[in-house]
């Protein structure tokens, strides 16, 4: 919406509206644990290698995000398998090599960090494959963006939720989009990406992951509150974003982040 307002201002009056960077004093809160636990079972792979990233919140203008190191991270499934995620040095990245993915299976996450126990549960959600990708140049509101549509066919008569990730490999820029099938049930439909900085020959990795309704709701708010949209008078009021992980030891010291498990389809597209 902000974009629209801005373009409108410019085109309407060739006007004096402007954006500039200013200094703002912000309050800081005590660091919180952030759980970035996304199990992605990429179609056609065995899915044995999975990573979970633990970090801490940092003051807003800091350049570094501190990792949360020294935690015990265990995922269990409904078949009583237990996967121990081992930290790679002091990176806050915890990894397993023997994960067994199973569609629609329930997975439980258990983290012990600084003697506080954090838990969560999710279901490994299947996804429809990306069937084709279309490109349109000179699109977007400014007429200078490259638009990408990644088509898939939504399974009919069942609620589905999708997370699309578009990664521009040259600069590692990532854009996320989430979709529900409320208005598109059973149809061929697309994930949409548009960027003014991509050029012919650039490699674009498109990932489509099946997610739960709870994950959709979480990501929907998360995307509203990131970069471009936050603080905008036309966007919803920002609020504390609670994920699906609980601190069992001290519920008030709740963690941020989310635990999800998805089947993921990857499509690599070269910009024409």
């Amino acid at each position: 919406m902000k974009k629209i307002l801005f373009i409108f201002c410019l085109s309407m009056f060739f006007m004096s509206s402007c954006e500039d960077v200013i200094d703002v004093d912000l309050k800081n809160t005590a660091p919180k644990l952030v759980i970035d636990a996304s199990i992605n079972w990429i179609k056609g792979t065995d899915g044995n290698t999975q990573k979970i990233r633990l970090s801490l919140t940092a003051p807003y203008f800091d350049n570094d995000i501190p990792p949360a190191t020294g935690a015990t991270v265990i995922v269990t499934d409904s078949n009583s398998n237990s996967y121990n995620f081992v930290e790679d040095g002091n990176s806050g990245i915890y990894q397993t090599e023997n994960f067994i993915p199973l569609l629609n299976a329930t997975y439980n996450l258990n983290i012990n960090y600084k003697n506080e126990i954090y838990t969560s549960t999710t279901v490994l959600t299947p996804v429809a494959p990306i069937e084709l990708v279309e490109q349109k140049n000179e699109g977007g509101f400014g007429g200078n963006e490259t638009e990408i549509k990644a088509f898939y066919t939504d399974p009919a008569n069942v609620k589905n939720f999708y997370l699309f990730e578009f990664v521009v490999l040259k600069n590692n820029n990532i854009a996320l989009e989430v979709y529900e099938d409320k208005f598109t049930d059973g149809n061929q439909i697309f994930g949409f990406f548009s960027d003014e900085n991509i050029e012919t020959g650039d490699e674009l990795v498109i990932r489509n992951s099946g997610i739960t309704e709870r994950a959709f709701n979480y990501l929907f708010i998360l995307l509203q509150q990131t970069d471009e949209n936050s603080g905008d008078p036309f966007e919803t009021q920002p609020a504390t974003l609670r994920g699906n992980c609980v601190n069992q030891t001290d519920p008030d010291n709740f963690p941020l982040g989310f635990f999800r498990a998805s089947e993921t389809d990857v499509f690599t597209y070269i910009i024409e």
Partner: protein, 785 residues
């Protein structure tokens, strides 16, 4: 009923040798009726004012009296009248500007009437509004009223306005008695009212009479001109953004008149020259036909049609606007009973076409309104107003359709909703003694949700459930749906709304006033953004959404001093609102067919002190307004252990401004040159800033805690305008004037918002200020003939 009997009794007691003088007051040249003209009988310290249709009536003992008829900018009439039988007397006033070289404004109707119990009301005439310097030289009613105490907005690009800490959807905006649902053009940069077509407006902020209802914060009552029934005239203007043309003239001399006004922005016409394919424009049309059938009957037909059109690169097309059609019949049952019957149709239409995602979206609201109002002038001490009002609503919350056959979007229609709102009211204006005047009234309002398809049913009627593990609100899954016949009543609400005000005159120049009003609001604008957007939809009260209920108390001190050269109004108010809807975090309100799953029931309160000092006469006039106030909202958990919104704590509304100062003035050097200036200072708007950052899924995410705990930097600016009339003595033929203005003279970068995000080049977080208007010079040319 008791009240009525008592009044009749009172009436019989006092009816001895009294006669009624009644009639209309109009402007001589155009025969346009004038609202709020003072008719004063100084010897017996009695008087009245003309109503919205220029009519007055007063009943006095037999005798010979001097009567003074006076109105802002017009020459007063003073003559002697012998009252020995009921009589009709119409007055015509001549415009002072046309006869005098040196303008002396005799009586300013905008100054407070210290005797009348009505408080918390501001009047502005079309001339005052046109004098106020505004951005890009476009005179604007809404911008003008925000200079009054107790009125603010959520920023320069914000729709609507906020009165005494109330939300924008809590203002009843009436144009010739028809409800306007969206008062903004172009996202709020301009309002939908063409100032040329407007005669007069009144803003009620408190002590709202019982004849108004349906919104809890304020009433903005706007009257369009009727049109000149003596001769043909045209006037218009050419500005940087829009141009206006209004024509008026007689249909039949002194009996009937017409008025057509049009306004359109045209900046978009030049855009192709700059190779820009985006379009943004608005237009509106005002019409009015008036016909005087005879001395006792007048009929009026008025209409308004306005649209905004906004499109970007053919991929996005947005159209929205109001239409209003209104037929009215004024009838005098006797010289003491004035009546007005209105049939009003109004609608609001919104459409959005998104080609790049291959669908379009249409939503809207339609209503049919019947009003029958009576003004009963029983004696010079007692005046009654009573009437009834019925409104039938049809809500279209939205309809989605694919735009191309290959679109992946399925057509989808959100369930239409229907409602019926009724009200009966009685207002009594009662002068108890020389010093004490009362006005009290009662409104009985009812609201009925009519049958619809597919109303969701939930377990325990709970559409929102609280997830204790994650401490979040989630949508409940409906356990079924119910369908009804259109004639069924699903849910009914009844409310008694008492209103009362009192004025006690301390001496000839000062008075104190008290008021209380209760009001109910059955419609809610669904909006969880800082300021409303045209896309927001109205939803009726029903099974899951309760009507908003307001109680407001106000007390004020009013003084005219230095021979009425100055006036001072000091008011303090406290108000609380029950059932103010709030939204679960991140609630998606667009195309949501189960809005009840994201709504929580909260409350709001506001209190403050307002001061208005006016200089009413002389070469320099204007006002200083200061407001000190607080506006908050709270949505606690429904049961213990539930979090509520913002942890159940009170939080500032987006329009909470602790200090709000505005100074506006105009200085007339001579009849060629006139200068106008505004200065505004406001506490920065509440905002929510992040308290930390974190990383998730490759993205940098700001972390927020309390809601609206920060503020944008304070807002201030100065505007100047210069009016130049080259040939001020010309009263016939082509007459014109120029307006040169500068908005935000010292080019302050006032923040409309502060956005927190990551700079993609440096990879650091930064705060970006968006300021909409820097210094904006403009020029406009206005003419009449």
């Amino acid at each position: 009923m008791c009240l009525l009997l008592a009044l009749c009794f009172y009436n019989t007691l006092s009816s001895q040798e009294k006669y009624t003088i009644s009639g209309t007051v109009s402007e001589k040249k155009s025969n346009e009726t004038l609202i709020g003209v003072n008719i004063i009988f100084p010897e017996i310290q009695s008087g009245t004012t003309t109503n919205e249709y220029g009519f007055y009536s007063i009943t006095l003992p037999r005798g010979s009296y001097r009567v003074i008829v006076s109105y802002l900018g017009f020459n007063s009439i003073s003559e002697t009248i012998t009252l020995s039988q009921d009589m009709t007397r119409n007055f015509s006033l001549t415009n002072a500007l046309e006869n005098l070289d040196e303008v002396i404004i005799v009586e300013n109707i905008e100054k407070p009437n210290i005797k009348a119990p009505q408080m918390s009301v501001n009047k502005l005439t079309s001339n005052t509004i046109k004098d106020i310097p505004v951005v890009l030289g476009e005179s604007d009613i809404i911008k003008a009223i925000t200079l009054l105490p107790g009125v603010t907005t959520t920023g320069e690009g914000a729709s609507g306005f906020n009165v005494r800490g109330g939300a924008a959807d809590q203002n009843l905006i009436l144009l010739d008695e028809a409800t306007i649902y969206n008062s903004s053009h172009l996202f709020g940069f301009f309002s939908v009212f063409n100032p040329d077509a407007i005669k007069d407006l009144r803003l009620f902020k408190g002590g709202i009479p019982a004849r108004y209802g349906g919104r809890v914060s304020s009433v903005l009552d706007i009257y369009q001109k009727e049109g000149n029934s003596r001769e043909f005239h045209a006037n218009g203007g050419i500005g940087l953004v829009s141009s206006r043309l209004l024509v008026e003239g007689p249909l039949e001399k002194d009996k009937g008149s017409f008025l057509f006004g049009g306004r359109s922005s045209y900046a978009h016409l030049f855009l192709p020259l700059f190779d820009i394919n985006n379009i943004a424009y608005f237009y509106d049309l005002n019409t009015k036909l008036s016909y005087k059938l005879n001395d006792r009957n007048n009929i009026y037909l008025s209409g308004y049609f306005g649209r905004d059109v906004f499109s970007i690169q053919d991929s996005f097309e947005n159209t929205y606007g109001n239409s209003v059609l209104n037929f009215r019949w004024n009838h005098l049952f006797s010289d003491k009973i004035f009546s007005n019957l209105s049939f009003i149709y109004s609608d609001y239409y919104y459409s959005l076409k998104l080609d790049f995602v291959e669908f379009d979206w249409v939503s809207g609201i339609q209503n049919f309104n019947l009003k029958y109002d009576f003004k009963h002038y029983i004696s010079n001490k007692l005046k009654l107003q009573y009437g009834l009002n019925s409104i039938y609503y049809k809500f279209n919350p939205g309809e989605i359709n694919p735009t191309v056959p290959t679109s992946g979007i399925n057509p989808f229609k959100l369930t239409d909703k229907y409602a019926f709102e009724n009200a009966l009211y009685l207002d009594v204006e009662h002068k108890l003694s020389e010093k004490l005047a009362l006005s009290y009234g009662l409104r009985l309002s009812s609201f009925h949700r009519l049958g619809q398809d597919e109303l969701n049913i939930y377990e325990n009627d709970e559409a929102v459930i609280f997830n204790e593990d994650f401490q979040i609100y989630e949508k409940a899954e409906p356990i079924g749906t119910e369908s009804f016949k259109r004639s069924d009543v699903i849910e009914s609400f009844y409310n008694l709304e008492p209103r009362a005000s009192l004025a006690y005159q301390l001496n000839t120049n000062s008075s104190v006033k008290l008021s209380y009003n209760r009001m109910s609001q059955y419609l809610h604008l669904l909006s969880n953004t800082q300021s409303p957007t045209p896309l927001d939809i109205w939803t009726p009260s029903g099974k899951y959404v309760k009507p908003q209920l307001l109680d407001q108390y106000a007390v004020g001190y009013f003084k005219n001093f230095s021979d009425n050269m100055y006036s001072l109004e000091v008011e303090s108010f406290y108000k609380k609102i029950k059932n103010r809807i709030d939204y679960t975090d991140g609630a998606d309100l667009i195309a949501n067919n189960a809005i009840e799953q994201v709504i929580l029931n909260g409350k709001a309160r506001a209190y403050g002190l307002e001061l208005l000092l006016r200089k009413n006469e002389g070469k320099l006039n204007g006002w200083l307004a200061y407001t000190l106030s607080k506006s908050e909202q709270r949505t606690p958990g429904r049961i213990p252990g539930e979090l509520g919104i913002n942890n159940g704590n009170w939080y500032k509304t987006p329009y909470d401004k602790t200090h709000d100062i505005s100074v506006t003035g105009s200085y007339r050097w001579n009849n060629k040159w006139k200068a106008n200036a505004n200065f505004l200072y406001q506490t920065g708007q509440p905002a929510t800033f992040p308290v930390a950052q974190y990383q998730y899924n490759g993205l940098n995410i700001p972390h927020y805690e309390g809601r609206n705990e920060n503020r944008l930097p304070s807002y201030n600016r100065l505007d100047l305008a210069l009016n130049y009339t080259p040939k001020p003595n010309k009263t016939k033929g082509w007459q014109s004037y120029w307006v040169f203005s500068i908005y935000n003279v010292y080019n302050r970068k006032n923040a409309a918002s502060i956005n927190f995000g990551r700079n993609s080049e440096t990879n650091n977080n930064e705060a970006t200020r968006l300021s909409i208007f820097g210094i904006v010079p403009s020029i406009s040319y206005n003419f009449k003939l």
